[in-house]
Each structure stands twice: as structure tokens, then as C-alpha cells.
Symmetry: C2
Subunit: 179 residues, 2 copies
């Protein structure tokens, strides 16, 4: 593999918002060219695909203000301090849809925003769900659904599931189920 | 569908970097709760899966400073002002790997960062490639490869393709090829 790595000449926190923090690094490329890279430092996140006892999958509708539309998603959220993504997946499953997982399996990890964020999302599959009190954040309003894998795949190929973590989760679920 | 839409109470540009611009909106949720949403406004982007005359697919290695690692990707980039994403796809194909597409087909569109950006990426498939001078940006250093679909799928299932636009493009390519 060619050497593609960039050397960091300086790094600065240039914006600290309530939620978003932006760094700007000056870098030197392997070709000697100097440039600036601006990016968000993100704590990492987890998503979970919960399977019910009758073989359906729990999804949520959530309004996403950045895009201005409602998305069909699997439960997900950012890591809290000190958490593993397995703990995040279990916590978000309980907070958003009210279940504890009896079984939790890591499917893969993804990088959604390589142009301007270090965010990594770990994708989990969960089954053997036990009811547990949901504890939604007050700024999260959700609608909960259960669908079969066929119903989900139909929505995906009809371009109705454009959230990347959810779409990739479905492909890995399909593989897991030998479909 | 439940009403999940949030009402915008105020909107402010709170950070204008060289590349990233952040808005903060105060919103009122359907449950009456007020909150703030911080997000990046993005011009939109296009990715293109180029098929060579002998049925291989062109991919690139690119170092992504935000994550600090080299990614295997399909050619992609942000829309320039006034461009359609079809024009962006054709331009990036020429700039990054040195081909003009004789045929370009939209596969789907995705939203990679619904938590904090309005970014949309349109995914294209290209064939009937004609050589054209590559004109890389001076701050892009790339390594170019050609792989069969089987080679690409092996890398995907081995967790070696974690860039979301690339991974989703592969699944849609697999569908297009009836695999």
C-alpha cells in the first residue's frame, strides 16, 4: 500500500457547541502539499436490531431536524462516558423501546462521515427480549413499529430507508438470517 | 403516522469554518418540550461505482484524517454550486480516476448523518468509460484499484469496507447485477 498518511502540523479546537465540537488540523500530505482538515470529534455510537419472540424486528419513526423529515430507524444512540458500545446498545434498547436484551451480538462497525467526523457506529443484533421500563429522553419523540424482514426489505428497495446505519444493519441481518 | 415534526422557534449560524458551517435551531417538540438542535448544512454529494470494460469495479484508497485511517471507497465528492449530482458524479469520476462515463444510472440516495447534518449522497453506477485526463485536487492523494464484485464482497463481509456510502453502493450493485 502506498503511503497516504498525513502528518499533523497543528491541531486546534475551533468551535465548542453544546453538542458539536470542531477541530481544525493543519496537515502535510505525502506529496508535500499543506492543507487544513476540519472535523467533529464524536464519542462513538451503537445501533441495535431487536428481534421479537415472534420473529419481527422493532423499528422506530423519529423526526430528524437536521434533514427535516421523519426516518425509519433501528434504536441507536451515542456512547455515554465510560460505556462500551454493547452497554450503549442495551441502554438505548431499553430507553427507546422498553426491552432488555437476553442475547446481544456485534454484527459489524461502520464509519458514516469519514469526510468530517471520526464517528464510528457499532451495529448489534438482539433477541430474547424482556420488557423493561422505557425511559425516553424528553427531547426524543418516537413511534414504534414491528415488521417482518420481508416488509423491511420491501421498504429498503423502495428507497424508504435512507438512514445509512439502518440500511446497513438490514443487509447484515439478511446475511445473519441466511437470506 | 403520528405527528413527530418539530417547530422551529429560532435559527442561527453559530459557526462558520472554512469547510464546516454549523446552525443552532431552538425547536418545540410535539410534546411541548423545547430543545436545541445543532447541525451542519451540507451541499449534498455524489458517489459513483465505475465498471470497466472487463467487468471490474474501480475503487480508491484515500487517507481520511478525521478517522486517521485509509479507507477503500468508490469515487465521490461534494456538489459544486449549480451542479446536479449526476454532473458531480461524472466530474468526480474524471477528477479522481480519469474516466468519463458513457452511461450513468442513479441507484438510490442515502442520508449518512441524520443526527447532525442534512447531507444527502446520491449513488450512481457508471459504465462505457472513456479515458479523460484526471485532475485531482492538490489536497487529494489517492491509490486506484480494480476489483471483481466477488473480491469486493469478500472485503465487505470481512469488515474491511466500513465507509457507509461505499458499503451501501456495493449492496445496490449486487442487486443491479442480479446477485
Amino acid at each position: 500500500m502506498k503511503n497516504l498518511k498525513e502528518k499533523v502540523l497543528s491541531t486546534d479546537l475551533i468551535f465548542g457547541g453544546r453538542f458539536l465540537k470542531i477541530w481544525r488540523d493543519e496537515v502535510e500530505l505525502p506529496n508535500g502539499f499543506k492543507s487544513f482538515r476540519e472535523y467533529i470529534k464524536h464519542p462513538g455510537a451503537a445501533m441495535v436490531i431487536p428481534e421479537t419472540k415472534d420473529g419481527k424486528f422493532i423499528m422506530i419513526h423519529q423526526y430528524r431536524h437536521s434533514v427535516g423529515q421523519v426516518f425509519l430507524e433501528f434504536p441507536a444512540g451515542k456512547k455515554d462516558k465510560g460505556e462500551t458500545t454493547e452497554q450503549t446498545a442495551a441502554r438505548e434498547l431499553q430507553e427507546e423501546v422498553g426491552f432488555k436484551p437476553g442475547y446481544l451480538q456485534l454484527l459489524t462497525h461502520i464509519h458514516p462521515v469519514i469526510g468530517y467526523s471520526n464517528e464510528q457506529i457499532d451495529l448489534y443484533y438482539a433477541k430474547d427480549l424482556e420488557a423493561a421500563p422505557a425511559m425516553k429522553d424528553p427531547d426524543e419523540v418516537l413511534e414504534i413499529f414491528e415488521f417482518t424482514l420481508d416488509e423491511i426489505l420491501e421498504k429498503l428497495w423502495n428507497h424508504q430507508i435512507t438512514d445509512v446505519k439502518t440500511q446497513i444493519g438490514i443487509f447484515w441481518l439478511q446475511k445473519l438470517k441466511g437470506r
